[in-house]
Symmetry: C2
Subunit: 240 residues, 2 copies
DNA sequence: TATTGTAACATGTTTAAACAAGTTTGTCAA
DNA sequence: TTGACAAACTTGTTTAAACATGTTACAATA
């Protein structure tokens, strides 16, 4: 559904920045309004997206400055809400997934504390090892609400569960809350991951909400430090 | 400068969510428009900020759902663009800063590759150890453009450089790009930090831009895993 | 009873206009 | 030459209106 005008404009301008067509400043909002034949508000909305991507920065009274810098060496970047497979595809890497546990169970007190799901709810609990270029780099612990992610199978888990969720089930993923920590390795990390002598892993806890505002997934991803790299852009609200 | 209406409204609603005055859904945009005596657009702008905070999620045709969950155990959270001292103050922790290197130098090829600053530019290079509740938990390597961060002294570095930058120099920090990795410890980490047996540190590289769009600071913060916790909210753009 | 349709509500997109406020530049006066 | 000032730009905030689209609930219909 390529519906909205502002998103199309955003895409065009973003591409131009990546192609270094714009390097110093964007054309003024009025000029862009003329080029894209739309209102100033629509242009401003597109620019807002570029700001939150860290591509440009608006300067009151002067214009919109391009601050985009292409990343060079990254191997694996979770930029937005994206799955392992998506990121791998984007980075054109060879990937494989090994399911080491596929279970269905009922949330008890221990799992409730870990995930935030309510006691008594039915869930899938899956453990998977992720390989990039033949190296084991991530162990995922997935908890899915059975009510929402219906009829999950081990076979699906071998591929992309996100693809199944979005394209087969038609669930929209809207918000993801993440918590990053660094933790000492446990036995499974040691058994499966290529750790290169590290005794710690990068841990990303994901809490994913669908378009009904229901948190239907909790995932803990334990990354071998070697391949872990995460990018983020923050903009400050300068008002009191 | 508490100028804008939408930001005030955002602050009020955010407070109400934190106080659990709103738990399931926000009032509709039309109701909020009446209460705050403003246009619908202004309400929508306030809600937009709450969405990017991960406090609420809009559901087309239904309403705006509250998905706020208070954090419980966090010790140290860099939620936005905030300095060590700010975060510490927010979390009401005892902090101390020890300056272990204060130098002024010219960017050479090695520093250029590390920071992205141009060759020949004058910078401050500072190393600092940060203590929380008496424990050494972070080593900061700061690089500041001398042209912009003028007259920095070791004395200022002992306190909050960000306070000096913002309040004394009047520089506005707008955008920060961050890269997270996990790296093996080096000699300085081992010498200064409380590592609790970990042989890795959480590394956050900060690239900070002022309101002129100039990147004037590059900082590498090396965190002891024990105290490191980072929160993030991502929202997905569902358009093609 | 079950289904359909519709009205009333919700958020999403787009336009237009007006004014506020910061920056740049050229002109005019000292 | 220098300084002051105003005009012409820039982005920032706010309002108003119209229409699109998704959801809910209720009433009419089969």
């Amino acid at each position: 559904m390529p519906k909205s005008k502002y998103f199309d404009i955003y895409t065009v301008i973003r591409r131009r920045i990546e192609d270094e067509h714009y390097t110093d400043m964007l054309p003024s909002e009025n000029e862009l309004t003329l080029e894209f034949d739309c209102s100033r508000n629509t242009i401003r909305r597109a620019i807002q997206l570029l700001v939150s991507d860290g591509y440009v920065q608006s300067i009151h009274g002067k214009g919109v400055m391009v601050i985009y810098t292409p990343y060079s060496k990254e191997q694996y970047t979770l930029g937005k809400v994206e799955s392992f497979s998506e990121a791998a595809v984007r980075n054109r890497t060879d990937t494989k997934t090994q399911v080491i546990l596929f279970s269905e169970l009922t949330v008890d007190e221990r799992i409730r504390r870990r995930t935030g799901f309510e006691n008594g709810v039915q869930i899938y609990y899956i453990q998977r090892v992720r390989y990039i270029n033949g190296e084991a780099v991530i162990i995922d612990h997935n908890y899915f609400l059975k009510d929402i992610v219906k009829d999950l199978t081990e076979d699906i888990a071998k591929g992309s569960i996100y693809d199944y969720i979005e394209n087969t089930l038609g669930i929209n993923i809207v918000t993801t809350k993440r918590v990053f920590t660094v933790q000492k390795i446990n036995e499974k990390d040691e058994k499966y991951l290529n750790l290169n002598g590290c005794n710690c892993v990068a841990v990303v806890e994901n809490y994913t909400y669908n378009s009904d505002g229901i948190m239907f997934e909790v995932t803990q991803s334990r990354h071998s430090p070697t391949y872990f790299e995460f990018h983020d852009v923050a903009t400050r609200n300068n008002k009191i």
